[in-house]
């Protein structure tokens, strides 16, 4: 059973702080949901865990099974068991879906292991069928010409075959109609096991009707400000996030990372004018 620990993680991009001290622990068998308003760092968190090079870790650590993965490359993190189902899966023309997934699965094999191609074909077909992806999926180019829903289902298909230990699903519900959402939800729920820890990033309650989370975290301004159970989802669905901002005394305009300082005159005194940017 794997454990991912995110400790006091501070992350920047182009000198702007995006994550400001995130703490989160996810173990195999657990399902966590991260919710929050737009632009609060939810997707950044998933991408930095996966090792996206555009972000810089300023401080803090990410541990997988007790070992820091900050210095590992993206592919090494993946081979160690991390997975990110992306919000906007990339199209790669000329590379067939089947070849890509086969290569990804093979990349995890040990030196003395060999992929049993017959078995793999059957698994691929089963997964495609379960996700209602159609028979021509294997020979279609990776995500090219896929509808928004097909791209999201294709992420789940990859996850099924790659079998990660900890998976982040970043807005996997966007672009899905009601039937597809149920299909994806059912497929992910069936994958739940002590060997898989799940982190769902979403704006909406509806995904969490199908994939029941154990814990719900609310992220505002780059940090987790509240953790609770399912009651949080219902409250957010009814009332949005204003109640929480009021409860925590959060005012968007007071965000120190977004407020620039202006010098008044030429003396050595600097004064911050609230609200000015």
């Amino acid at each position: 059973m794997a454990t991912l620990e995110i400790k006091d993680l501070v992350v920047s991009v182009e000198d702007t702080l995006i994550l400001q001290g995130v703490n989160l622990t996810v173990s195999g068998g657990e399902t966590h949901a991260i919710m929050g308003p737009n632009g609060t760092g939810k997707s950044t968190l998933a991408q930095i865990v996966m090792g996206h090079p555009k972000f810089k870790v300023e401080s803090g650590d990410i541990l997988l099974d007790g070992e820091s993965i900050i210095g590992l490359s993206v592919d090494e993190r993946s081979r160690r068991g991390l997975f990110l189902a992306m919000q906007n899966p990339i199209e790669v023309p000329g590379v067939t879906n089947f070849d890509f997934v086969k290569t990804a699965v093979s990349a995890r094999l040990k030196a003395n292991e060999r992929l049993r191609i017959g078995k793999f074909i059957l698994k691929f077909e089963d997964a495609a069928k379960a996700l209602n992806m159609g028979s021509g999926l294997s020979q279609r180019y990776l995500n090219q010409g896929f509808s928004g829903g097909e791209k999201k289902r294709n992420e789940i298909l990859q996850m099924r075959l790659i079998q990660p230990k900890i998976a982040f699903l970043d807005e996997i519900d966007s672009g899905l109609d009601v039937d597809a959402l149920k299909l994806v939800g059912d497929n992910v729920s069936k994958m739940k096991s002590p060997d898989l820890g799940l982190v769902l990033i979403t704006h909406y309650e509806r995904l969490l009707d199908y994939i029941i989370p154990d814990q719900v975290h609310i992220m505002i301004r780059g940090t987790i400000v509240k953790t609770g159970g399912r009651e949080l989802i219902q409250k957010i669905d009814r009332e949005g996030y204003d109640w929480l901002k009021a409860e925590l005394g959060i005012d968007e305009l007071e965000d120190p990372s977004k407020t620039r300082q202006y010098t008044l005159g030429s003396c050595a005194t600097k004064k911050t004018i609230p609200g000015l940017r």
Binding site: P53, V74, R77, R79, P89, G94, A104
Partner: protein
């Protein structure tokens, strides 16, 4: 020689310096290779250092159906080599024209295509000379309903400069041209491509489509594309465009996030880019051979065979 393995000598393969084989429907007269007959023919022509002509003519008679592969390699000539292709009415011709190393840097190629009514030309051009190189094309669609489908792949390596100039002139009504160029520049390679579609006044219901994609793989490599449409007629369909860039970080991140290392991820992206060209080569062994050539030129010889497991 590799080509021996690719194309065992048989009735459909000859080197231009040879006496051509006796193939029904193929005649050589006054340095012109003429094709006739409705029965579809598949032929391969190898052009090497021993070619003595400066102008090589291919003439396809009315309603002829031919799939022709022309491979140029090991050319020591230091001057212009011209190819003239004439397609008679209703001729359906596919030409795979491949330029392989070694080719003299001072050699330039000029190709002229002339298509009569309802003639159809599918032209696949592969430019892998590993040297500086100029290829200038001029296509005239002189018969109503004539069409040309033009797909090129060029790789500029080291400090080499590759210049490609393509002009299609629509000189009859209802003529169609489709031009696609895939361009790759590695190391300090320089690739310049000028594409022009000319539709004269009165050539109504013609269509001219241009698409150019450039992939920069070297820090100091450069690609420039100048896609032009010169149109003097209202009743036409025309489009042109060019996209040039490096491998996208997000694409790499996506592939690497599935466990593929950077080298393999880059190779997949590059070969995905090449797929439209390689998929059209009907000859499997030639396709494999060109894949290896491109792999060596694009990814460097030190890299192991990239293999999808």
């Amino acid at each position: 020689m590799f080509l021996g393995a690719l194309f065992p000598k048989d009735a459909s393969v000859w080197e231009l310096c040879d006496t051509p084989p006796k193939v029904p429907g193929v005649k050589i007269r006054d340095r012109t290779i003429a094709f006739s007959g409705k029965k579809k023919k598949e032929l391969t022509c190898l052009i090497t250092k021993e070619v003595s002509e400066n102008v090589i003519r291919f003439s396809f008679h009315k309603n002829t159906q031919v799939a022709l592969k022309i491979l140029l390699f090991d050319l020591k000539k230091e001057e212009q080599l011209q190819f003239h292709f004439r397609l008679g009415s209703g001729a359906e011709v596919t030409v795979d024209h491949i330029f392989l190393e070694p080719i003299n840097s001072k050699l330039s190629i000029e190709r002229k295509f002339r298509l009569k009514e309802n003639a159809r030309l599918t032209l696949l051009t592969g430019v892998f000379p590993n040297a500086s190189f100029l290829c200038r094309d001029d296509t005239e669609l002189i018969g109503e309903g004539a069409s040309v489908d033009y797909l090129s792949l060029a790789v500029a390596t080291k400090k080499n400069r590759i210049q490609i100039e393509e002009t299609v002139r629509h000189q009859a009504k209802q003529t169609i041209s489709k031009m696609q160029n895939f361009l790759i520049a590695t190391e300090e390679g320089l690739l310049e491509c000028i594409v022009a579609g000319v539709i004269q006044k009165g050539m109504a219901q013609s269509a001219c489509e241009q698409a150019n994609r450039g992939l920069l793989l070297g820090e100091k490599s450069s690609i420039s594309v100048d896609p032009k449409l010169l149109i003097d007629e209202y009743d036409v369909k025309a489009s042109h465009g060019a996209a040039i860039g490096r491998i996208n970080d997000d694409e790499l991140f996506y592939l690497e996030s599935r466990g593929l290392d950077e080298t393999l991820a880059k190779q997949l992206i590059v070969f995905g880019y090449l797929a439209p060209f390689l998929d059209q080569l009907a000859h499997a062994k030639l396709s494999d051979y060109l894949t290896k050539i491109v792999r060596k030129q694009v990814m460097g010889g030190a890299i192991d065979e990239p293999e999808l497991a």
